[in-house]
Symmetry: C2
Subunit: 209 residues, 2 copies
């Protein structure tokens, strides 16, 4: 298998797909696209990725290409059901909440994503204080996370799922910028961040531009 990711390992969605493959115990080769040079918009990559974004998975064994990190996680969980750690809860309602969270984190909270880019998380950049709009988004994030996580709870559902990694990344945009974050969410994000599959992504070699 091949996973296409951004060359500086900054895409939160590339990270999500990387962690998903690692958790499933699937062997894969990383291939790098330089987004600053718009390599994702090349004709060669458009033939691999319908959406011309990272990540993209090439599953040669099934002659199959797929983009969008949440679709990639669902695909490998279904295609390789017996392998490694399940990426989604088995319970229908819990699985629905995992999908709700993944969809939401990818399509809302844009002020957090803009003011707390992943350079804050992976390159320890120190950003300006949050704008009022970003603080509103942060409060919305804390509300949603608190609905799903009791103090002391280590995973969203009975066991780890890929939604934990996605939520921890979003929280760590704020935690690592030293923005105020409720204590139990800081603790949750910290524990999620220790997961070996996540740490392997965190420790990939990045060029500080």
């Amino acid at each position: 298998m091949i996973l296409y990711v951004d060359a500086n390992y900054l895409s939160p969605y590339a990270m999500s797909a990387y962690v998903a493959l690692r958790e499933k115990g699937l062997a894969f080769e990383l291939r790098l696209l330089n987004l600053q040079k718009a390599e994702q918009a090349s004709a060669a990559y458009a033939a691999i990725s319908n959406t011309q974004r990272v990540p993209a998975l090439v599953d040669n064994a099934h002659n199959f290409n797929l983009s969008e990190s949440s679709a990639i996680a669902e695909y490998i969980d279904e295609r390789y059901r017996e392998r490694g750690h399940s990426l989604y809860p088995a319970n229908i309602s819990a699985r629905a909440k995992a999908r709700e969270l993944q969809a939401w984190l990818r399509s809302d909270l844009q002020h957090i994503r803009e003011e707390r880019p992943t350079e804050v998380v992976f390159l320890k950049r120190s950003p300006a204080p949050l704008s009022a709009k970003a603080q509103t988004a942060a409060n919305k994030l804390f509300h949603a996370a608190t609905q799903l996580l009791q103090p002391g709870q280590q995973h969203l559902f009975d066991e780890w799922s890929i939604a934990d990694t996605d939520l921890a990344l979003m929280l760590n945009r704020l935690v690592l910028a030293e923005d105020p974050v409720p204590e139990h969410l800081v603790h949750y994000a910290y524990l999620q961040w220790q997961r070996p599959s996540v740490q392997d992504w965190v420790n990939l070699p990045r060029q500080i531009g």
Copy 2:
């Protein structure tokens, strides 16, 4: 069951959830939120919708609330597997491509969404010509759709899926603005739009503001 949607029936995601429920043959009551009055940000609605967005589903039979339209479609397809029309393809690879498309349409192409809001589709507003950025996004949409749809093909996969409705809505932002769209995609979007579940949403009573 209860489905919360925007009071003017303009949200493409509310439409997607509405069509999904109709296709499954599930009975539901519509409840309306006035987004201009920010009713989705009220404490009452935050207790129903974790993400404080429309649509939200309340499945009283399972004491379960869920937001995000793609998660809602997956949930009702799994929970009510024997009912109505399947919302996703049975084949693992086809199902993955349906999810890829749903995730992409919800998180990219923002210039099309901004310059061709659903008022163009549902209220026949005539917009200004596309900017260069929106035209680039439109070309990307045509590329992706053409990869998935041969000329004359009426559905993305062997049978109708909810991804067809989502793609047809995105294409119709352009078609109904009289922007240039490849002929076979115009035809596909037109046929998808005739589906009774879609027409019922199109014909809901809207106030022209």
